[in-house]
């Protein structure tokens, strides 16, 4: 353990799935109350970073800290306790399909707190109201659209009042209005409730709306890390190509090299 003041810290993290090296000595720090956005190509390992922070994946090398806790070394029981301070919104929402909206949001409260049914109902109503889903309490996940599912997933992630919230592509596949609503919600959370957030996305508009600091993940490493405006002006050729969406530049070259090697 360490007496770190950072909310999250990844030190020299390496992660490999069978033959494929996903993260290669990745290091990054996240300060309390900041909104970090990690950008990168599809399949570059963005979601893996979130899973490593949560401790649902173990890295092959390096260490990961959430506050003073080293997630890679915590015993199961302690890890479960620490996870209660982290909320996670999955890319495909990951709501429990056999439970309705109310029961999905209430699950962490029912399982991890001693709150009464009426207290739980009050909190569930409050969180669903926050995401504009109060009228859909009785619906099953299969009856919801993608955007509605994502909002319910956000309500579920917030129900235990986490200090850190991890968002995996929060606005992917949503219409622009709902995407903005979700982005605004994430911003208001850190402004009002002092929640730190880490968002991974490749949606430019959403990324620059949410992020106070941006990072670019490329070939398993953070190659650029800067405040929002500074990041926009980055001279790094990979970042510049990614932000412009151009086909000319090192990103495609790298892919072509990889294809040729195979």
């Amino acid at each position: 353990m360490t007496t770190s003041t950072h909310m999250v810290q990844l030190r020299d993290v390496g992660m490999q799935f069978e033959e494929k090296k996903v993260l290669d000595g990745l290091s990054i720090k996240v300060e309390p109350e900041e909104r970090l956005v990690i950008m990168g190509q599809s399949g570059s390992g963005k979601s893996t970073i979130l899973r490593l922070i949560l401790g649902t994946l173990r890295p092959n090398s390096g260490s990961i800290f959430f506050k003073q806790f080293e997630m890679t070394r915590l015993p199961r029981r302690k890890l479960q306790q620490v996870r209660r301070h982290i909320g996670m919104v999955y890319q495909y929402s990951a709501l429990l399909s056999s439970r309705n909206v109310r029961d999905n949001v209430a699950l962490p409260l029912e399982e991890l707190t001693d709150k009464s049914r009426s207290e739980i109902d009050k909190i569930v109503d409050e969180k669903l109201d926050l995401v504009g889903m109060k009228d859909s309490k009785e619906l099953l996940p299969e009856e919801l659209s993608g955007g509605m599912k994502k909002r319910v997933a956000l309500a579920r992630a917030l129900v235990l009042e986490p200090e850190l919230i991890l968002l995996d592509e929060p606005s992917a596949g949503l219409d622009p209005v709902i995407a903005s609503v979700i982005d605004e919600l994430i911003i208001s959370l850190s402004d009002n409730s002092k929640v730190t957030s880490i968002t991974v996305t490749h949606e430019m508009e959403s990324a620059f709306r949410i992020g106070t600091r941006m990072a670019m993940l490329y070939q398993g490493k953070i190659i650029e890390e800067a405040e929002r405006e500074e990041f926009k002006q980055s001279k790094n050729p990979v970042v510049a190509q990614f932000l412009s969406g151009s086909t000319e530049g090192p990103i495609l070259e790298g892919s072509l090299d990889a294809i040729t090697k195979k």
Binding site: R76, R83, R84, A94, P108
Partner: protein, 273 residues
Amino acid sequence: MANANPPVLVAQGIGHLSRNFFREVGSVFWFIANTFEESLERIQQGRVPFRAASFFRHTQRAGVDSVPLVGLVSFFLGLTMALLTGYQLQRFGTERLIPGLVAIGFTRELGPLLTGIMLAARIGAAFTAELGTMQVSEEVESIEAMGIGPLRFLVAPRMLALFLLMPCLSTVSNIAAVFASSLICKAYFSIAFPYFLDLVKDSLLIRDIVTGILKSFLFGLLISAIACYRGLTVKGGAAGVGTSTTSSVVTAITTVIGFDTLYNVVYTTFYPT
């Protein structure tokens, strides 16, 4: 190349299979141990490991809803067994052995075994498919991410339900088979119902009943553990769920029959009669 040598290839194949087999056995063992550990940790914290409603939903599905299937199959088997053995025994004038034969056969052996096979197919497959679907749609991971232990939350109620329900269903199977054989005895071999009951009581030992019940508990635990383990280790989307479900049923049935044989070998070593 030395690897192309057929005996070497066969030895490699056997080695590979053995290693996989022992790895699977070890994994299921640790899976059961971890489920116990996670549930006990929760109890130590002064909380129930899972909700009563969740447990009763599984007992309803695994137990009560399986009664017609178990009862009917055992009834037909009891009929057949009594009829076929009856004709053979009648040639020697010993048809009064039918009640004891069916009662002991089912209580000690066929009741738990048949119920085990039927539940492995009916409930084991359902558990694997259900948990497998949850696994591929990240539901299991989301439960884990919330700080909720998926083993005690998802596996423990299913395991306990099948563990407790198996002996009850075996008893249903025994009663159905004995009842069916009593009908055959009355219709074909002129053994009246009260006499039939006396013959059953004379031949059946408490030891037979206890051994059948112990076996049922064991089968319940094995089937649920294999089914849940296969479900939570699904890889490869919808196709993976299908493969795991098939594998779960095949493994559970084979394991039940294997353990039944092992149990009988151990049992007859200590009680040779």
